[in-house]
């Protein structure tokens, strides 16, 4: 059982992030409150260097490491880089919010980095056990982050709900994994796939698949496993919502790819049916209920649910085109979500959360540029050309239409039309209503700059979607 040193090189990014998280954890204890910036900058540097290391160790060919428990491939590398990027954005947007509320502590960044590590493990897992390890590392970090503002009653309540339901979902996932292990005699995803490819699909395997799908659906927040999403999104502090609503979605996509597409790929016809059900329910409930919301964070939570419906459409296609469309969708969605929550942070100040939809009234008169950025983000979420959201939806729908599931594509379009209402209502409020207050927006340069860049990128990716699309279809196995 000797592992060659070259295999340790391949997991250098994980080792690096883990080490840095530990270093920051210890170092933060010795810092004064006025020196917290050091933790922040170290966390950001960690992400930057992790990206550099990931790209430099990226192998030309897919490699299985550590007795088949870990996989190094191009898809993993790309997803990891986007996870760093989105997590870095979350850190950046959060600093202003945390510092004006006296919450600017090292824990947020340490937990955030541990969460990133968990996502990295999920992305590169090639064994049921590794998947579970990564998932739990991420989830535990998220539970703690939601409870981060421990004096706040809604935060604690949200954390409690998230924890209990998450534990339940983890239990179901584990149960499914254990049945799968019992039926195939292995934890290795590749070997499971080989075994299932050979044999007939038996009821216990389908049974196991159902439990795995439930675990994944909970992680994504697909209906009817979505109940935690609105409560947690609304209850958690905005920076945590921002973190939780963006990067982990990318990791969840990777987990779906590893678990559904690879390990139980042989049962595609079974899980396709399940995903159709989940997708239609998510699209319907997400879009319709979002209309009735007055809280922006809660509205974005339901919007997430509807976007998950679209993501599932791409995955259930089960074709390389579908997978790459789903990957494109989730990456661009993470960027849009980061931007939207970043806007809430920009408008907030001490004692004022700016998370009601009415808080965006007349933003155009207060600051036309950021009203435009928000307009781009909302149009992109609604799928209005030429923003990137349009191409994301289009490519997913194309994958579904290629399967001759026209009715499904039609349903998706129908619900997006309903969904467009609440995005565009926000635009209407920003541009045509009178401002309710005229306090200046947060003036931190980095926040303003990054948000502007975020909006511009959403627009540019919409105008030139080709390279990211090509990247996605290239790395899908």
């Amino acid at each position: 059982m000797i592992v060659p040193a070259s295999e340790f090189v391949m997991i250098l990014p994980e080792i690096f992030v883990l080490s840095m998280a530990c270093i920051i954890l210890v170092l933060d204890l010795f810092l004064k409150d006025s020196e917290r910036n050091i933790s922040y900058w170290l966390a950001q540097l960690t992400l930057v260097f992790a990206a550099v290391i990931t790209l430099s160790v990226d192998p030309d060919e897919t490699q299985l490491l550590f007795f088949g428990t870990f996989i190094a491939d191009a898809m993993g590398a790309v997803l990891k880089v986007f996870i760093y990027l989105v997590a870095g954005l979350a850190f950046l947007y959060s600093r202003h919010y945390l510092s004006v509320r006296g919450l600017f502590k090292g824990e947020y960044y340490v937990l955030g980095l541990f969460g990133v590590l968990g996502m990295m493990v999920m992305v590169s897992a090639h064994s049921l056990l590794t998947v579970y390890l990564g998932l739990e590392l991420l989830s535990l970090s998220l539970y703690a982050m939601v409870a981060f503002n421990r004096d706040s009653y809604p935060c604690s309540e949200a954390a409690m709900k998230y924890f209990v339901l998450g534990a339940l979902a983890s239990g179901m996932l584990l149960y499914g994994m254990s049945i799968l292990y019992g039926m195939t005699g292995t934890l290795d995803i590749g070997l499971i796939a080989d075994t299932l490819d050979r044999g007939e699909s038996s009821v216990p395997v389908v049974f196991a698949t159902v439990f795995i799908v439930v675990g994944l659906a909970f992680k994504l927040g697909a209906v009817p496993f979505h109940m935690w999403v609105p409560d947690v999104y609304q209850g958690a502090p905005t920076p945590v919502t921002l973190y939780l609503g963006s990067a982990p979605k990318i990791a969840a996509f990777a987990m779906i790819m590893r678990l559904l597409a690879e390990s139980v790929g042989a049962l595609q016809s079974e899980w396709q049916g399940m995903l159709v059900l989940l997708a239609v329910l998510s699209l319907g409930i997400g879009n319709v209920v979002a209309i009735a919301q007055t809280n922006l964070k809660r509205m974005l939570a339901y919007s997430t649910i509807s976007h998950v419906g679209f993501l599932l459409l791409g995955i259930l296609a089960g074709t390389p085109a579908g997978y790459s469309a789903a990957m494109f969708y989730i990456i661009t969605y993470a960027l849009m979500a980061a931007g939207a929550f970043g806007m809430i942070i920009l408008l907030s100040r001490a004692g004022f959360e700016a998370d009601e939809i009415d808080d965006f009234k007349g933003l155009n008169q207060r600051n036309p540029w950021f009203a435009l950025v928000m307009l781009i983000l909302m149009f992109s979420m609604a799928g209005v050309p030429p923003t990137v959201g349009f191409y994301a939806k289009l490519s997913v729908l194309q994958a579904v239409v290629d399967l001759d599931m026209i009715w499904l594509a039609g349903a998706a379009v129908f619900f997006s039309v309903i969904g467009a209402y609440y995005y565009i209502r926000l635009v209407k409020i920003m541009y045509f209503d009178d401002p309710a207050d005229d306090a200046p927006l947060a003036s931190d340069f980095d926040l303003r700059f990054a948000l502007s860049a975020n909006g511009v990128v959403i627009l540019l990716l919409g105008l030139f979607p080709g390279s990211l699309m090509a990247l996605c279809s290239q790395v899908i196995p």
């Binding site: 009821v203 109940m227 309903i418």
Partner: protein, 653 residues
């Protein structure tokens, strides 16, 4: 040469843009100078191209300038086809346009929209050149719609007058009907030929002559006939043929230079030009030619009759235009394309002359247009008088003047034709000659002879308008006299070469050419024919009735009051359109508003869905109770749902 073609098209456009966008900066004189120079450049270069092509015998040009896009093998391009047909049109368009530009300096002198007007008419020249120089249907349609747009803008130029707005809306809507047919025709061409290039379509046309299409179940139609009739519907709109003629008389609400340029000399002849250009297609469908012939002859006779009861000087000329357009269409119908184009050219000169002369009278009379309030203007407006006389004689086909040659050729061609409907057409065009002479000289005598019927105040200010008005009149009078002598090469010679194709069985012009022995012989032959005597009879009748026995006209009006009322109501076309089409459209609109908008969209979709969403979110809010055990319970239910849903999919489950 390509550069020259581009320059011909672009110089009016540049002039138009300068006058339109920077009108305030360059001022009034700046605006007329840039546009006049722009059009003058076009005219001079057109003359050069004419010399190159006709006198030096240069090759015709067919090439692409710019490829807009390629879609499924169909190329959408901007390109020029410049052959002898094109160059003739270019000469006519740029010459008349130049005259009108100059004339406008005097006519619009005090108008606040001076720069805007110049910008529009230059834009018109650009559009018309794009139309005639096109080598493909896409650009043809562009030019077609662009001239329509400018026409719309110019009819409503005095946009504060309700009547002008009514007229331009009417012109726009009626042209929409024609353009819809035209667009369908182009679409049919794209469908059958998979190309929009003229040369490719014409080359492939003979092989398509057996293709059929079932527009109605079980009734096969020749595809080419359908295409030709659809294209001709477009021509009927633009060239104001019955029943799509109703917009042209109302278009006289626009300023007079526009009536001369657009609604007499150039734009309305676009349909004639288009059919001539499409001669390789029309020759393959005798049915389509018969339709063209019958529509044309109805227009020629019945629109002329309406000219008899009009009292507005411009409307008389307008109905005369309608009738003459009918003559051109008749020529197309009997495959005498060259005669049609020849009449188009001569008509452009003398009709522009008549309109500008009418404008000159209107200026002198301080914008009085009713001929019942004129009379005896001969001594006040000598230049206008003599040029009008030339124009009117040319119009009625007085031997030796331009109109005589072109109109007589058409009449002879109809006589020689054996196509279905040619008998009716022959009677119509012959009677039309009498009617033309009658209404032309009725107006001429009432305006320039007879007693003065205006007040002393008007008389004091009555004098010949300035040189910018009279010089164009004189310059237009010259070709009105002389252009006819060009008949030998243009009509009977091989001037058009391959630009116009006539199949041997329809070749009436070839038949006439055998008997043609020079212009003098043609005149001699004409004097012996019925057309000349009918024209003379019309002229004399007008002289006798309106100068000698003015009561006779009133008596005739009372005696034939029914006929008079029918003519006064313009055969009821306007009334019919107002009740059936306008009323019908309003009724449909009302139904759609009530049923579609108020009930279905507002009531059912918007408010209904809002209610559904409200109801639904009420339920969801109830489920989303905030209690942990409710959430866990919903997960369990979801799990069971998925299990039930999936195990059902396993065959042996």
């Amino acid at each position: 040469m390509e550069t020259i073609y581009l320059a011909i098209v672009l110089s009016p456009l540049i002039g138009s843009l300068l006058a339109g966008l920077f009108g305030k900066v360059i001022g009034r004189s700046g605006a007329h100078w840039v546009t006049i120079i722009g059009v003058a450049v076009s005219f001079v270069l057109s003359v050069y191209v004419f010399k190159h092509m006709v006198i030096d015998g240069g090759e015709s040009f067919n090439g692409t300038v710019y490829t807009w896009m390629v879609a499924e093998g169909m190329r959408l391009e901007v390109g020029f086809l410049v052959d002898r047909l094109t160059v003739l049109m270019m000469m006519v368009v740029t010459f008349v346009s130049l005259m009108v530009h100059v004339y406008t300096v005097g006519y619009m002198h005090d108008d606040p929209g001076y720069q805007r007007f110049f910008s529009y008419i230059s834009l018109f020249t650009f559009s018309m050149l794009m139309l005639v120089m096109s080598n493909n249907f896409m650009q043809l349609f562009f030019g077609w719609e662009a001239v329509g747009l400018v026409s719309y803008l110019l009819i409503g130029f005095w946009y504060k007058r309700p009547s002008a707005i009514y007229a331009n809306l009417k012109a726009f809507l009626v042209n929409r009907v024609g353009d819809f047919g035209f667009l369908l025709g182009i679409a049919a061409i794209a469908m059958y030929f998979n190309t929009l290039d003229y040369a490719e379509v014409f080359a492939a046309a003979p092989s398509m002559s057996d293709a059929t299409i079932e527009v109605f179940e079980g009734v096969p139609w020749s595809a080419l006939t359908l295409i030709c009739i659809l294209l001709f519907i477009g021509a009927m709109g633009k060239s104001a043929q019955v029943p799509l003629h109703v917009w042209l008389p109302d278009s006289m609400e626009g300023p007079t230079p526009i009536s001369a340029l657009i609604h007499a000399a150039t734009m309305v002849t676009a349909g004639i030009f288009m059919v001539a250009r499409m001669s390789p297609l029309f020759e393959l469908s005798e049915t389509a030619l018969s339709v063209v012939l019958v529509i044309g002859s109805i227009t020629a006779l019945f629109m002329g009759l309406l000219g008899l009861v009009q009292n507005d000087i411009k409307r008389v000329v307008a109905y005369s235009t309608l009738s003459q357009l009918g003559y051109m269409t008749v020529a197309l119908g009997v495959s005498a394309y060259s005669a049609g184009i020849f009449h188009l050219m001569t008509h452009a000169f003398f009709k522009a002359l008549l309109f500008l002369a009418a404008g000159s009278v209107i200026i002198a009379m301080h914008h009085e247009q009713d001929i019942r309030k004129m009379g005896g203007l001969k001594k006040y407006l000598p230049i206008t008088y003599w040029t009008s006389l030339i124009g009117s004689l040319a119009l009625i086909g007085f031997p030796g003047l331009a109109g005589f040659f072109s109109k007589d050729t058409i009449i002879e061609a109809v006589h020689a034709s054996h196509i279905a409907g040619s008998g009716f057409a022959y009677v119509s065009v012959l009677l039309g000659v009498f009617v033309t002479a009658l209404y032309s000289f009725r107006m001429f005598f009432l305006v320039f002879h007879t007693n003065e019927r205006f007040d002393a105040h008007t008389r004091e200010h009555l004098h010949e308008p300035p040189a910018v008005v009279t010089v164009p009149l004189i310059l237009l009078a010259v070709p009105s006299v002389l252009a006819g002598y060009w008949i030998d090469p243009v009509v009977f010679g091989d001037y058009f070469g391959s630009a116009i194709q006539v199949s041997a069985s329809h070749d009436v012009i070839g038949h006439l050419a055998e008997e043609f022995h020079g212009a003098a012989g043609f005149i001699l032959h004409g004097i012996q024919g019925p057309a000349f005597w009918l024209a003379m009879a019309g002229l004399l009748t007008a002289w006798y009735v309106y100068t000698r026995q003015p009561d006779l006209a009133n008596q005739a009006r009372n005696r034939f009051s029914l006929v008079y009322r029918v003519l006064q109501n313009k055969y009821g076309f306007d009334r019919f359109n107002e009740i059936v089409f306008a009323g019908g459209a309003r009724a449909v609109g009302w139904i759609l508003w009530k049923l579609g908008d108020v009930l279905f969209i507002d009531g059912l979709l918007v408010n209904g869905s809002a209610r559904v969403v409200g109801w639904f979110s009420g339920i969801v809010r109830h489920v989303q109770s905030g209690y942990l055990y409710h959430y866990a319970f919903s997960m369990i239910i979801g799990l069971l749902l998925l299990l039930w849903w999936t195990i059902g999919f396993v065959p042996n489950g």
